[in-house]
Amino acid sequence: MAALTTSRTPGVTDRRRPATRRRLPVWHAFWILAAAAYFIVPIVSLVQFSFGGRVDGHSAGFHWYATVFDDPNFGSSFWLSVQIAIETVVLSIVLLVPTAFWIHLRLPRLRPVMDFVSVLPFVVPPIVLIVGLIPFLQPFTFIYSRPEVLDFIYVVFAMPFLYRSLDAGLRAINLQTLAEASANCGGSTWSTLIRVVVPNLRSAIIGGSFLTVAIAMGEFTISSLLSFNTFPVYIFNIGQSTSNEAAALAVISLLLTWGLMIALYLVGRGGRTTAQIAATR
């Protein structure tokens, strides 16, 4: 066969290439179909469930979605989660952007240490941290009893994602040169940070922020154990009584998370590719 084809490159690879090209698509196609089914079927079932059941002898249609939007607790829990997410993002940025900037500019020796510190929240899972946090925070009733306590805890879990995003961003720009240029123009360290570095880190900050929002909006473990009625806790509670309505809520939550991920993808496009996973399990 190889002798019959006219080819620029003679030798072994010449004989093998057409063979691999013919063999691959079969198992490729099989795996792709199997994987696609595995990923799509649960979502299709979920959507089907959200339109399922019978109401007054009719098929439900958008009934469950209407029920969701009529429930004042939907709005209040959703709004609570949005509020917490925004506060967490602001707090994370205020805490991490100056620190990451300072470490890269003046304390590069600390960078490996920070690499380790930023993965610590992975080592301490939420369910473990909350067991340690409850007795520690309980005496401080003014914060412990308010949902804002979640902001402070979520910052810890968002840190690896935001810090890594910032770290990659800072590595990509020539920080020393920018800082020197800014100083030559008479800028103080703060104005270097705010007027030079932050604009250069925009996509890193926005990317990290989207992940932080995804974490804060989806977090269930800590908010449920501290008995705050955030959006995921609300979905869970509805699921205890009406599974169709819970399915509708899950679809809404899914669209929301994916919306964030698409936004993240669009922000990251053109820059370095970031494959980021922020879900709280």
């Binding site: 300072w102 994916w258 879900a279």
Partner: protein, 308 residues
Amino acid sequence: MATTDTTPTAARAARAVELPASGGRGARRARRGLRWLGVAPLTAYLLVFLLIPAGELVVDAFRTPSGSFTLGNVSTIFQSQYLSAFGASLELSALAALFGGVLGLLAATAIVHPSAPRFVRSTVTTFSGMAANFAGVPLAFAFTSTLGATGVITLAFKHLGISLAAIDPTSTTLGLALVYNYFEFPLMILLLLPALDGMKREWREAAQNLGASGFTYWRTVALPILLPSLLGTMVLLFGGAFSAYATAYALSGSTGNLVTELIGNLTNGNITVDPQLAYALAFGMMLVISVLMIIYYLLQRRASRWLR
């Protein structure tokens, strides 16, 4: 921070480039000390919200309610019901890591195969990112409506006379592992791609020139090189499944017997609250995860030998 508004511009610039500016040795040393103030806020924050609570947890695991030292709490977790909880968690994590690891490896190698069209990679990574982020309560409901007692697939198979009770995610470990696989499988793809990219094309060509089949190349070249990365990523999947709580709890409610669920019940107040036991169980989890991290670190070090 080292500059003030009264400093002349030139001196500021000089300082920024670390030239010896005005001021003696003492002033320079003081400035060097001041540098460390820049990391003080983050350090303080992490101390309060991560390190002290985690440390206190370890100390409390060895203390009686009145505060004296005891090994009683930790020895409680060796009672059969708690050991079986750790066993169930480890079994689930092993299954999830195995499923996710094998499927992820197959998918990732298919993506990077030279003959795969280029769009496949970007499509798969985008969808993997989305699937890896679909977890927790919504994922639990999606699988309840698929494989639960009244799930779409369960009912479809029932019509064919096949019972899917063995993979019911609300009551079986195998079913729960299937659910976890939903985010572990894409996670494996995303984490493994960089390692596969590090495989040099020349290695495959060299093997082929020596007459190796695709299988021989994999068995004698690719797999030995990839093994540390592969196992390291699977350790991460294992840890992810081991520490997951939301998905499992949303599926099985308070009847679940995983360690995370037991801790949740103890903290939630569904059962008589026993903080000492919760500390001990949480400490046990930290131990398991520490071991995993050490294994991960060692594998990572080995992996970096080839994949530079």
